[in-house]
């Protein structure tokens, strides 16, 4: 019995989501018994990252390196992963529900004729069977999923399993892969975004979202100042209304037709809190709402609320947070 985890990297560096996937994989392995294998596909030299995967609980790391794996290589990575899975006959395979994991996992599931649970927030092992809890209807309900075929494939929502150290000396094995040229029909290259120094809204620890109450795109500097004050793990978000109005890019939209986020703190600034928006942020640990309308539905969800003019409150909030953080 064994569990396999896909450890995502970019340009040879492990992503945080890889460690999260290993931690989630550890939960299943500890429930089932057996060994946890991490599969690391990356450019030459990526092998150096294997020890880090051991630090978070991988018993074994299978490494396949190729220049083609520096970025995302959907076809080659599918082939390599299917090969490892077919040789190992695992009970479960864990991915991160990152952009890469959400593209790769269904390809692998289709090849293996396996069931896949996407965006899992909680994993359990009941009587030797893997079960997963995952949001459906953008989090308006949660489904407990069982698997009727093996292996069970899961992609774990970013932030749901913060990495936990479980140090061990992982055995490292090289996998030689002959990439089939006929299968490499796609070429994928990465283009950095304008805000590459900030985490993606779906992966940030703190999210500051603005809504129609911000009155116009020119006022976003106030939110950017707050994000800057909150430090490098904070990111900007937006409501559907302001994305539809063209004030902000869709990549920032939080809600049912945008991103679903679970940060430590979610600031809803000038957002009334439509159902479709709530669906995207209600699993945040702490929600702060600032809105001039005391009856806005967002206050029913908020941990802390302030009623009033966002243009008066925001500069003060930025200043106080900057002061509080500089004390530490």
């Amino acid at each position: 019995m064994s569990v396999i985890v896909f450890a995502e990297q970019r340009e040879g560096a492990l992503r945080q989501t890889a460690l999260e996937a290993v931690t989630a994989g550890r939960v299943i392995t500890d429930g089932l018994g057996g060994e946890l294998t991490a599969v690391l596909l990356g450019p030459p030299g990526v092998r150096d990252q294997a020890a880090e995967l051991g630090r978070y609980g991988a018993d074994r790391v299978v490494v396949a390196s190729s220049d083609a794996f520096a970025g995302y290589a959907p076809e080659g990575m599918t082939d390599a992963l299917v090969k490892v899975i077919e040789e190992g006959s695992p009970k479960a395979v864990v991915f991160s529900a990152s952009a890469m994991g959400k593209d790769l996992s269904p390809r692998v599931a289709a090849r293996l004729k396996a069931g896949l649970a996407t965006d899992v927030t909680e994993i359990s092992v009941e009587g030797g069977q893997v079960q997963a809890i995952r949001p459906v209807y953008a989090g308006k309900a949660f489904a407990r999923i069982g698997f009727t075929a093996e292996p069970a494939l899961l992609s774990v929502r970013p932030k749901a399993y913060p990495p936990i150290e479980e140090p061990r000396e992982a055995r490292v094995e090289e996998l030689s892969i002959g990439l089939d040229p006929a299968r490499q029909r796609m070429r994928v290259r990465r283009v950095e975004g304008e805000s590459a120094e900030r985490p993606d809204v779906a992966e940030a620890d703190i999210v500051v979202s603005g809504g129609r109450g911000m009155q116009g795109p020119e006022n976003w500097t106030l939110l950017e100042d707050l994000v800057d004050a909150l430090g490098p793990s904070a990111a900007l978000g937006a409501s559907r209304a302001v994305v539809d109005a063209g004030w902000r890019p869709h990549s920032e939209q939080v809600g049912q037709t945008g991103k679903v986020v679970s940060p430590q703190v979610y600031f809803a600034i000038g957002i009334s809190g439509a159902i479709q928006h709530q669906a995207g942020m209600r699993t945040a640990k702490c929600i702060v709402a600032v809105n001039r309308d005391a009856e806005a539905p967002i206050f029913k969800l908020a941990t802390y609320g302030i009623v009033g003019d966002v243009f008066e409150i925001l500069p003060r909030l930025t200043e106080e947070i900057r002061a509080a953080r500089s004390e530490d």
Partner: protein
């Protein structure tokens, strides 16, 4: 250019979800069902590509029961030429649905298969890439910009902190993200014409399920929060709570 667009009937995003007595499905009473919002971007893209090519057809396809005809008619009203209803029950397993679609597509003529990036009911994000894999086609998912020059496809997809640009030759599969285009509204003429457009029905049986929903639960209730005050004067208390209670700064 011949394009197949796969669509789904889903509850409207403003719907309140109520769990039915069986504990594994939603109560459909009072739920407004619509064409999946992401599928509108896929249909729009197909119509623009066909118009630009000056030839070809746009066929819409779905797996579902009699009620899914309404969804297909909505797509026909937007401008799709033909519709195919694969009659059978979808499954919570994306692969079960993908197998039915891939089977039905494999005997047809197409250059491009388009999907919305996800159905806003199951939120699986599985079927487009699975159909591609089953048919042996290249595929780019979550696409916000699509350029097709002859056979060459250039698809820009959203990833964390940036974009990826995927390039491949047709035929292939694309799943549409919001931002790809502005979907058109069906005109009155379009709605009238949709009633006369061909809608083919194929019995395909129920989709296989390798996952099962054992229980459907409402989201956890959030602890009751607190309004800390009005205006900037309440800010110091908020910052204190964030540091001391939420331990978040």
């Amino acid at each position: 250019m011949n394009i197949i667009v796969c669509v789904k009937r889903v509850p409207d995003s403003e719907t309140r979800i109520k769990i039915s007595e069986d504990g594994v499905s939603i109560d459909p009473a009072g739920v407004k069902f619509v064409l999946n919002p992401y599928d509108e971007f896929a249909i729009e893209e197909a119509l623009v590509l066909k118009e630009r090519a000056g030839a070809g057809t746009v066929a819409v396809m779905t797996l579902g029961g009699e009620e899914a005809k309404e969804t297909l008619r909505t797509a026909l009203a937007m401008g799709a030429d033909t519709a195919v209803l694969l009659k059978g029950a979808p499954s919570p397993d994306g692969l079960g649905t993908a197998e039915k679609l891939a089977d039905a597509i494999s005997g047809r003529e197409y250059d491009l298969i388009l999907f919305g990036k996800q159905g806003i009911d199951d939120d699986n994000l599985q079927v487009p890439a699975m159909v591609a894999e089953l048919l042996g086609l290249p595929c780019a998912t979550v696409v916000v910009d699509l350029q097709i020059d002859g056979e060459r496809v250039r698809a820009k997809r959203e990833v964390e902190g940036g974009h990826e640009v995927a390039e491949f030759d047709l035929p292939g599969v694309i799943s549409a993200q919001k931002g790809l285009n502005e979907p058109r509204y069906a005109s009155l003429k379009g709605i009238m014409m949709a009633k006369k457009k061909p809608l083919e029905e194929v019995e395909v049986g129920d989709a296989a399920a390798r996952v099962e929903i054992k229980e459907l639960m409402p989201p956890a209730e959030r602890a009751v929060g607190e309004i800390l005050g009005e205006g900037p004067a309440a800010v110091p208390e908020l910052v204190r709570r964030l540091r001391e209670e939420a331990k978040a700064l």
